[in-house]
């Protein structure tokens, strides 16, 4: 319990630090939300200053930060100048779509990568392993976004998958299972892109961790004592290989929010990605900050889950505490 | 009366709530060889590590030539461990390994250090022509010799040998002892041998201290302890190791 409390405190400090850093960077960047307006000749500089003052953007750093913190406490997470509304609800609306995409992709990636990695570790030296490594390497080296564009082009040509969007226009009129199918159909393309990016990394880590366990003296001993190959792999090697994989899993969890942002933009998925990009372009700082903070929270949570899992599954870690 | 080379006073240490050292006190004179004997878990290795500065005592003091050194590593005290393979960086060359303490102490020029390194290798029974070979190319016994050469290159005031003799063949053993003897005569190096083999060690050490459960339960001249020890643990150790000594 004390451990969790210490972690919570530590995380709080981290979040505060990240928010301050973000504020600093935003202040350092030239211009603000209203700078765009100065491009339009009809709007006088006086109007711009007045707008700025109205929004409180001309106050000193500490004052602006302070009122942002107060806004967070209220649940508003700052005020979006572009939308003219609190940033919190806007972001909250979009999180669902992003998480739907990333959770599906992450789950799928792990479900495919773990067996693939285990198999390839067990088949080292055979030709099938060589072929699989080439395949994984090509997945890894093919740029994610390029893949997205290629798939989009194919989809446009063949009409096999929809381009963009979470649901078809007439989704509301479909039955529940119809809606589910529709969503899956829309998910297919972006999920494929994300999985193609995550899969090789996970599979290679699994392979290397399992291979190291298979080469270890304790597996040699177990084998010498007569333990059959299949059991050696799953009951003896895999548990010992979990440590680095749990850490990787924590990282996977941690990037649930941030992994798909660019892909969403390219593919037209209505999640946080497009919102985030627009906010950056417009310098709508409240939204940018809200998304960044949310990503940080996920990262912290992912790390914490990894540490807890390690504690549970690796007895060597427990010795320290 | 001269200050003893090493003085340990009321050393106490706990590990994970267990008392590993309970009020250890002893002296070691310049040029003397003493042995700390006990079974595994008696605390003897802990004493060695504390004296060498790798662990700190919870209370008590360790004095080298009168000055406190507890908790600090100093090149004047060299520790040689049981597993020399683990103690030597396999990628370092023999020359680098033996010269390392001199490098750390910033003594002499690079050339002088190289010469000294070759000299020590030779005295330890290794071929100086092999000085460019990496540690992993030497056999276990040779690596032990390298470790000893390194320890003695630093001209330490105190040499601690922690179970360093198990697994060595008689050739290496006698050469090692000869080297240590030389160091004793030339530099007054004191030697503390940590071992569980009472029978063998009592042939080399002048004084033997028997450790049990973190305390010194008996001490005295080697011959007396070996043959006529009074504490039950001493008798046990003696009988076991004597029975394992070669028959006939």
């Amino acid at each position: 319990m004390r451990y969790l409390a210490a972690r919570a405190l530590h995380s709080l400090f981290l979040l505060i630090g990240v928010s301050i850093l973000c504020f600093v960077f935003a202040s350092l960047a030239p211009g603000d939300f209203y700078s765009e307006l100065s491009m339009t000749p009809q709007v006088s500089s006086g109007t711009i200053s007045a707008l700025r003052k109205n929004a409180g953007e001309d106050r000193p750093f500490v004052a602006r930060y302070g009122s942002w913190v107060a806004s967070v406490a209220r649940g508003d997470f700052g005020y979006s100048l572009a939308f003219g509304a609190p940033a919190g609800p806007i972001v909250r609306e979009r999180i669902g779509a992003t998480l739907l995409l990333t959770v599906t992709a992450t789950l799928l990636a792990w479900l495919i990568a773990v067996p693939w990695g285990v198999w390839s570790a067990a088949s080292r030296g055979k030709w099938a392993d060589g072929a699989s490594r080439v395949l994984l390497a090509s997945f890894l080296s093919f740029p994610n976004l390029l893949l997205a564009i290629v798939l989009l082009a194919i989809a446009a040509q063949t009409g096999a998958f929809p381009i963009g969007g979470l649901a078809s226009r007439d989704a509301a009129s479909l039955t529940a299972s119809g809606r589910l199918r529709d969503t899956l159909w829309h998910l297919a393309l972006p999920v494929a892109v994300l999985v193609a990016g995550m899969l090789p990394v996970i599979a290679r880590h699994v392979r290397s961790a399992v291979a190291e366990a298979l080469d270890s003296p304790f597996v040699l001993n177990a084998s010498a004592q007569g333990i059959p190959r299949g059991r050696l792999l799953f009951r003896h090697a895999l548990p010992a290989a979990l440590n680095p994989l749990i850490t990787l899993f924590g990282l996977s969890l941690g990037t649930l929010l941030s992994a798909s942002l660019l892909v969403e933009v390219v593919v037209g998925w209505p999640g946080l990605g497009p919102l985030f990009l627009d906010a950056i372009m417009a310098r709508d700082f409240a939204i940018v900050l809200a998304v960044v903070m949310l990503s940080t929270v996920f990262l912290i949570a992912g790390n914490l889950v990894a540490d807890l899992l390690l504690y549970r599954f690796d007895p060597r870690i427990r010795v320290r505490s | 009366m001269a200050e003893p080379l090493l003085r340990v006073r009321d050393a106490y240490k706990r590990f994970d709530g267990r008392e590993v050292l309970r009020g250890i006190s002893f002296d070691l004179e310049c040029g003397a060889v003493a042995a700390l004997v006990g079974i595994s878990g008696s605390g003897k290795s802990t004493v060695a590590r504390c004296i060498a500065g790798f662990e700190s005592l919870d209370s008590g003091e360790i004095l080298l030539n009168g000055s406190r050194i507890a908790g600090r590593v100093t090149p004047a005290i060299q520790l040689i461990l049981q597993q020399p393979a683990a103690a030597l960086n396999p990628r370092f060359t023999a020359e680098e390994i033996v010269a390392e303490p001199l490098v750390i102490q910033k003594r002499g020029t690079a050339r002088w250090r190289r010469e000294r390194s070759h000299e020590m290798m030779q005295r330890a029974g290794l071929n100086p022509a092999d000085s460019r070979k990496r540690a992993l190319e030497f056999s276990g016994g040779e690596r032990q010799r390298l470790a000893i050469a390194r320890a003695l290159a630093a001209e330490p005031k105190l040499l601690i040998l922690d179970e360093s003799f198990s697994g060595l063949d008689s050739g290496v053993l006698s050469r090692t002892l000869a080297l240590i003897d030389e160091s004793r005569r030339e530099h007054g190096t004191g030697c503390l041998i940590i071992s569980h083999d009472l029978a063998t060690v009592s042939q080399w050490a002048a004084e033997v201290l028997v450790l049990d459960g973190g305390e010194i339960v008996e001490r005295g001249p080697a011959a007396q302890i070996a043959a006529a020890g009074r504490h039950p643990r001493t008798r046990e150790l003696w009988e076991a190791s004597a029975s394992l000594a070669l028959p006939l």
């Binding site: 001993n221 004592q225 548990p239 | -």
Partner: protein, 259 residues
């Protein structure tokens, strides 16, 4: 069903493909192991591949172990004792090339190996009790984990059964390896330097334990040690090795006389 397993590779020195034979060996030949030694090693030569060249490690090694006998393999560090033991057990990695013959006639019973370093040989994330159970299961043996631990000299307390290897002392870990090795009543147990890290009191205890296992279970052993004293105490027969060759063999007394 009687099994004889024979890693007969190539006795004409032509060299064979690198040999890494798992303990679940190829069993064939039904034979009657009467009067013949339990283990017979003939003209065993082992080379190791170092940077493309083959360096000889063992040369023309011959040794035997009879039923109900404890044989000792004596020699200094680096003389090849461990390599010989691994070669007999079929556990050498592929960079070793083995020629010669190793004939083990266990009458259906297995050949067990006890590695030198128990901390490395035990799985760090599995409980010790489970690791012993795994071996029992692999051979469908009728032993129980507590029985095996008791035979190995460890009281089968819940604390021990549920412990992980890093929570045990060095001596306890070694006994766990021993418990694994004696599961399913092996015909022969090869122990690689089991006495090295032990103090004399424990050494005597372990040596006496081996002797009692020989008496009670009819266990035969090949024990490797550089300590003449302990071999003198428990071995019926000793083979002395030097630089990859057997230089002497005979009773413990004879061989160890000149240390």
């Amino acid at each position: 069903m009687r099994r004889e397993f024979d890693f007969f590779t190539d006795s004409h020195g032509r060299g064979s493909a690198p040999l890494r034979v798992k303990m679940r060996s190829r069993a064939y030949n039904v034979g009657m192991p009467s009067g013949e030694p339990l283990l017979s090693v003939q003209n065993l030569c082992v080379d190791v591949d170092v940077d493309g060249r083959f360096r000889p490690v063992l040369h023309d090694v011959c040794c035997t172990v009879d039923e109900g006998q404890i044989a000792g393999l004596f020699g200094d560090s680096g003389c090849g004792k461990t390599t010989l033991a691994l070669a007999i057990a079929g556990l050498l990695s592929p960079q070793y090339r083995v020629r010669g013959s190793v004939r083990f006639q266990g009458g259906g019973r297995r050949l067990a190996f006890i590695f030198q370093d128990p901390l490395l040989a035990l799985n760090p994330v599995l409980r010790v009790g489970d690791q012993v159970a795994e071996v029992i299961r692999a051979h469908s043996a009728g032993d129980s984990v507590p029985d095996l631990l008791r035979l190995a000299g460890l009281p089968p307390t819940p604390r021990l059964l549920r412990a992980y290897p890093h929570q045990l002392s060095g001596g306890e870990r070694q006994r766990v390896l021993l418990a694994q090795a004696i599961a399913a009543r092996p015909a022969l147990v090869i122990a690689d330097e089991p006495f090295t890290a032990l103090d004399p009191i424990r050494v005597v205890e372990l040596a006496d334990l081996f002797l009692s296992l020989k008496r009670e279970l009819g266990l035969s052993m090949l024990v490797i040690s550089h300590s003449a004293g302990v071999l003198a105490r428990m071995a019926d027969r000793v083979f002395a090795m030097q630089a990859g060759q057997i230089v002497e063999s005979g009773s413990a007394r004879e061989v160890l006389r000149h240390g």
